[in-house]
Amino acid sequence: MTTATASVPAVDAPPETQPVAWRHRHLLDVDGLGPAELELVMGTTDAMREVLARPIPKVPALRGTNVTILFYEASTRTRVSFEVAAKNLSCDVVNIAASASSVSKGESLVDTVRTIEALGAHMLVMRHGVSGAPYLAAEVFGGSVLNGGDGWHAHPSQALLDLYTLRSRLPGGSLEGRKVVILGDVLHSRVARSNVWSLTAMGADLWLCGPSTLLRGFDAWAARGAAGRRFTATSDPDEALRDADVVMALRIQRERMASGLLPSLREYAARYGLTQERLRRAKPDVVIMHPGPMNEGVEIAPDVAVDPRSVITDQVTNGVAVRMALLYLLAGARQRAGGGG
């Protein structure tokens, strides 16, 4: 086990000079990250928060590193967050929206990734609608691949920023034994899946809650645990929210009605929407989260979104710091491995 007390890196310096215990060239999922590695990300994020607090929130650490952001799905916050993070570390950034590239002419992912590498990219941040697509990219890309969300599978940087936000909000900074509820469309959520791994790794008492159609299979997963780490799945929001320390609402997409998974948004809002009334079952100081973008009035009431206990805007701010940390750690691992750039 690597040390969990990794000192805050001096992030003004090039990452390969840091004695950090980060060994991953890519970040494709969080299922392989143990508590020590999660602590390292958290500690590095602290250092990045310190950078962000400076009058000029920019360090030269990754100068000369070319980052390409390739998004096959629409996104505002994640894409911009990665771009800002990369620029704060002095990376050069290229943005590719799939609709504006050869992808719309039928170019394969493998060819696209090879082209991006030939154009000089050292790091590739990608989002894709098909679960597992970043693994294909990582197979052919010579640099580091950062998964910015794939299908229903994983959203590692979101899970890590959620973890960071919670630790900075919860008394004592620990999730051990804290009841964390993820509420909504769990089935189609890469945020929920990634949080299963990272929150249980840190000892949270995790509950997944949603309509039974949007929770299919999670009972069986919960019964086995995530590599032995238990969580609970229930379609009863009252049971889930009782004495909760944290509740995270997930976005409901309109196409769920068309595919017969839900009768109506109105019915969803009435039975599962995060309202002040429903929140009374939780602890008085419950932390309210949402990965965004929100459908206010559906999965979360407008007054809940702006409640003083809401950390939704903190999640966005912390997202930049976490992504800076991830770019920094991956660059270090790649350069120590002789990846150049």
Binding site: S108, S131, G151, R193
Partner: protein
């Protein structure tokens, strides 16, 4: 040195022979002269010293009732000639190809084209042809079944899709039954599989892959059997073969139908027997190693069994790889005979169609060359009697195809030599270069397998000879 297509002559083969037709197994010496089995001598006493079932194996040429050779229309993925070469390398001497070509084999001219390609290749591997059930495989109107039967097709199938309209399936069973031919159904309810990526269950849930319900297959199996039950009262010759059956629930329906005396047969594939859905997560242990003592699938995440990268598109296949408990049911069906045959569902694809995002990859595994080694792994593990494996590779599928195709696996003196010699103790590594198929889409690439085919003789001629032998 002999060449492919040469008449086998002057060969004396010694090893553990299995003749499933005669129900005989043991040390034997077989003399091949001028393409025929001149003499089959079963050895005993001192003559049999050093000959055991774990050494050199001599069995009748394997029969595959379900393969895709992609010609006409997708020759980049496979041709009849490359398919024959792959088959011979895998120990197969008779292969029935599916009609989902472009155009589909839904009229005699296309069937004739496939036969002509087989004849022109120089390979002695016999290529049988299945005709489509419906015109263009669209599931709407019957293909010219009688004309296709006159042209010598072995059966009818819309494989790749089920005959999802019950009335058409019933009519096809009745019409084909009167022609003495089986309908080979790919059981799948498409209303349950739209966009589906991996078998419903733990692995699909954890990986965020759209669930492919068991009911999509078992429901279609149950319906096809019930349709048959009605037809067979009026048309006693009607026969239903369910191909690539992959779940315990489907096999329960098949067992019930067989117990009721219905003319139903089925096959299972090597990959549904030996690979479980956990391979998609990165496991590389055999399916029988992934079952807990209580019969439930083990947890590869907890076991530390995830040794490869997840989402290998080579593992995307229809029906999908199933939880290890279903794989165990397929294996059990081979053991007790509920499954009549092993069908490879050899489905070669190009890189363009396969080296893409998992959910967008074409369905299928290039498997005719790894089928024997894969099933022998189950034999090596003590999970399947060797004789049963050989039956399911030879007389089992031959019975489904029927005598009229002239496929009669056996080791009978005086008949053309049609056999395969396998070195069970030797190993080979699956690589793009070692596969003769144009389809390199095997999830076993890089894996070392036991059981090397040394010699394949088809119809008295050399179909494959290992360079090392």
């Amino acid at each position: 040195m002999t060449a492919i297509g040469d008449i086998a002559d002057g060969l004396t083969l010694r090893g553990w022979a299995i003749d499933p037709d005669a129900g005989r197994e043991g040390p034997a010496e077989i003399v091949v002269t001028d393409g025929r089995l001149e003499r089959v001598t079963w050895l005993d006493g001192a003559d049999a010293d050093g000959v055991g079932p774990d050494g050199t194996l001599i069995v009748p040429g394997l029969v595959d009732l379900h393969a895709h050779f992609r010609e006409p229309g997708n020759e980049d993925a496979e041709t009849v000639a490359s398919g024959q070469a792959a088959a011979a390398h895998g120990g197969f001497t008779s292969v029935a190809v599916m009609p989902n070509t472009t155009p589909a084999i839904d009229e005699p001219g296309v069937a004739a084209l496939v036969r002509a390609a087989a004849a022109a290749s120089g390979s002695p591997v016999r290529v049988l042809v299945h005709g489509a059930v419906t015109a263009g495989r669209k599931g709407e109107t019957l293909a010219p079944l009688g004309e296709l039967a006159d042209a010598g097709v072995a059966g009818f199938s819309d494989d790749g899709a089920s005959v999802h309209r019950g009335a058409i399936l019933g009519n096809a069973l009745a019409y084909a039954g009167a022609l003495g031919l089986p309908v080979i159904d790919h059981p799948e309810d498409p209303s349950l599989t739209d966009g589906a990526e991996a078998s419903e269950g733990y692995v699909a849930t954890v990986l965020g892959l759209k669930a492919w319900p068991v009911a999509a297959e078992s429901g279609a199996v149950a319906r096809a059997i019930d349709v048959l039950a009605g037809v067979v009262r009026d048309v006693p010759g009607a026969r239903l073969h369910l191909t690539h059956v992959s779940t315990a629930a489907s096999l329960a329906h098949v067992r019930g139908a067989k117990a009721a005396g219905l003319p139903v047969t089925c096959d299972v594939t090597p990959h549904h027997v030996a690979l479980a859905d956990e391979w998609i997560a990165g496991s590389r242990r055999w399916a029988w190693e992934a079952v807990a003592d209580d019969g439930s699938p083990r947890d590869p995440w907890t076991d530390g069994a995830l040794t490869a990268d997840p989402f290998d598109p080579a593992l995307r296949v229809n029906p999908p790889l199933r939880p290890a408990s279903d794989a165990a049911a397929c294996l059990e069906a081979l053991v007790d005979g509920a499954a009549d045959a092993i069908g490879t569902d050899h489905a070669p694809h190009t890189e363009v169609d396969k080296h893409v995002e998992f959910g967008w990859a074409s369905n299928g595994i290039s498997g005719i060359e790894t089928a024997l080694s894969t099933i022998l792994a189950a034999v090596d593990a003590g999970r399947l009697p060797l004789a049963r494996a050989v039956e399911a590779f030879t007389v089992g599928p031959a019975r489904v195809l029927g005598e009229r195709q002239g496929v009669r696996p056996g080791l009978r003196e005086g008949e053309p030599a049609d056999l395969v010699v396998v070195d069970r103790g030797a190993t080979w590594t699956v690589t793009p270069a070692s596969l003769r198929s144009r389809g390199k889409n095997s999830p076993l690439l890089g894996r070392e397998l036991r059981g090397v085919v040394r010699l394949t003789l088809a119809g008295g001629r050399v179909a494959y000879e290992d360079a090392a032998s």
